[in-house]
Symmetry: C2
Subunit: 490 residues, 2 copies
Amino acid sequence: MTVPAETFFLAPDQSGTLQQRIQQMVAEGILEGRFRAGDKLPSSRKLAAHLGVSRITVTLAYTELVADDYLTSRGRSGYFVSDTAPRQPEFVRPSGAQTDSVDWARVTGERFSGQRSYPRAQNWRSYDYPFVYGQTDPELFDHQNWRNCALRALGKRDFDVMAGDYYEHDDPMLIEYIARNILPRRGITAHPRQILLTLGAQNALWLSAQVLLNARRTAALENPCYPGLRSVLTQTRCRSVQIDVDEDGLPPEALPDDVDVVFTTASHQCPTNATMPRARRERLLALASERDFVVVEDDYEFEMSFLKAASPSLKSLDREGRVIHVGSFSKSLFPGLRLGFLVGSEPFIAEARALRATVLRHPPGHVQRTAAYFLALGHYDALVNRLHQAYRRRRMAMDEAITAQGLQVAGQGAFGGSSFWMRAPEGIDTRDLADRLAARGVLIEPGAAFFDDAQGDCPFYRLAYSSIRNARIPEGIALIAQEIAATGLR
Amino acid sequence: MTVPAETFFLAPDQSGTLQQRIQQMVAEGILEGRFRAGDKLPSSRKLAAHLGVSRITVTLAYTELVADDYLTSRGRSGYFVSDTAPRQPEFVRPSGAQTDSVDWARVTGERFSGQRSYPRAQNWRSYDYPFVYGQTDPELFDHQNWRNCALRALGKRDFDVMAGDYYEHDDPMLIEYIARNILPRRGITAHPRQILLTLGAQNALWLSAQVLLNARRTAALENPCYPGLRSVLTQTRCRSVQIDVDEDGLPPEALPDDVDVVFTTASHQCPTNATMPRARRERLLALASERDFVVVEDDYEFEMSFLKAASPSLKSLDREGRVIHVGSFSKSLFPGLRLGFLVGSEPFIAEARALRATVLRHPPGHVQRTAAYFLALGHYDALVNRLHQAYRRRRMAMDEAITAQGLQVAGQGAFGGSSFWMRAPEGIDTRDLADRLAARGVLIEPGAAFFDDAQGDCPFYRLAYSSIRNARIPEGIALIAQEIAATGLR
């Protein structure tokens, strides 16, 4: 890289001669790691013009730096950072920042970073047995067609339109496709004005909670539940009630009388994989009507029903506009895409849209258009089909290995999904188990983070099969069984 | 498109024979515009298997629909929506939604949509004289190289890595490039842990406000100021103080004693284009230290200094870690990209990062990597250079036309920028002026939205030249002068 002349400034309050100050700026850049071995310095002419000093001053500074082995001169090509230049082993504290006089703990109240953390391995790809949830398998993704769709979305005509500031709006092409093709699979018919794109399901849940809740309102959530939802609710400062789920998911009878918003993962309860039966769905909606509450349905794995046809969503049974439906392309496409959507009554969507505009405007234009092409050209359906086949095989392999090793399944999902909810023998804390297994190349998810009360031992853990190869499953499960057996508990 | 069988559901509580119910579902889909002329229906075999009915039932339903001209049969190819099928002129109220029993105004409080709106023409491209701000000119953008960088970021190796869920993290390649090359141009040295990517400057301001403010704190903002900032502050429920700017921007002496956070656009005051002189910057920082407040510097047009070298940013003068720096690629790349960044002390960035993770996780992976390549390969510098040349020419053309037509400039920016802040004769409300001009193909931005008190006539307006061709400028300015002259006021 060539270091631009514009990165140099002569601060008026600095001491030393001009030449010394130039030397110092270059040396600092090298020591701080901003300029690296082989980087080309600006020509003495350019730097002199930029700083408003004479060219000889710059040349003298460079000559000194060569003598100190910061720079090497390559004749007419100019000056370069020397391969053997002095350097600091780590990116050091920048010269300009000095001490920090702000009491940040007081100023920020550590409101956000102080929340219960949910440690996740970012380097999961380097593990041999990644039973990790929510990441996808690059081997299964239709990378070639995605790239073709991206190219089309980046073609001159689409590029210009999607490069603009859309203010609070979405790509009409993607919205239309969701309305015509995605939602009907879940039994939902919706007008484009009832749909809002979001940055994944996380963003959809956050927007819903902000619009529907405040410090005087009460939210009910499933226990255990998706940990990201707890952080979302903490920010609204609402009261919240934890409802223990059973093998049919959330029991409506357990809801308190004065609840305002109920969050549920009716189709694939997260993390237990329970599917709420039709009768219970009807009961939940009847209660919503009776007690005047709103239901937020997180249908995060809506495309992952490969064992039998998906039951219609709660939203499809909603006759009163009480259900807010959350969908996500993170599982069916990929999570780094950050695309999901909200479906709900028009006045609700209008609020969520206004809030989204203030927080982030809209998801990036070309991302939206690329997804629209991928869906419209039929690649999406083909991909979902391929995922179904692969997941069905993996689930069978999981099932066989788990049975063979005598591990205990706590919930596995009637329709499909991408994970098993497991139970270790009483007395085992799965956080410790996860640590020991990680050292042997096996990634599992300890269950504690999903529960309201994360204190004490938690025997549950989650095993996902969306990112692990079929052939690795038996050995991975065997290692888990060995590690559990080693505790002597059963 | 082929209509997937999965979009059909037999609701158990519906009346009619199976055949009638199938007919109804198809007809509704066509009437509601979900199935369109030429769409292929699922084969009778597939639909029968999906619904669990006999094939003859489906065939009979289809035959009836052919008789009613909803469908046409093309022999062995199957059934298609007829070109002359009945249809509703508009996307009608979906059949499933029925009445809405929720009192949405009460539930949502219309907290977000009720805020003062800031109308912006989404179809600005169809105007002959779009003096519109904040959109870029596709003619100037280096579309070909952007596409090449996107292709590289979508290549197999990068694709897999960037497709993952990054949780709270950013692309290290883009962060490093910002630290090494972008920030030094503004005189800032920062460690990667002091940088956070955001979905544009809007998202950066929102995150800063949420972390730094609450109902017990006071924010000072410039008046006039960027309207998006007012919506951001409304959400924090903080107290806010409006400080009238002068020709040098925000006057530090006017700040109240008990302010906690000061928002400023020191380098190009939005919308007046004033540049805060060095002495005033030092004074502002000295006051910040004395009274213990934090400064959020919105450096939204940091690359647009084409008349003389940019003055170093406030952050570069900050010796106490009191300045939060907001940057954006919306002006130098394009706004639909939704990429900006925050630079600040580590504890602050850690809070903003945790908040961002809860709200939206991270900007889409491939967007980050594409920008990283575009920057690292030097295309960015070349583009900024080209923008500078074009903007310089346009600014000259604006200057000449404005002088020739005798219009009054209220602020134009010493370093460059992309707009003029204009003043119409007293007695003209520029909202009316904008409406009349829009009818003649001229888009201007009325000034009222920038002021605290939007009541009453506002003689100010903004003329941007980032999206209008050079050749159109004289005529556009002439039309504005004509329209002002027509009022008889001067």
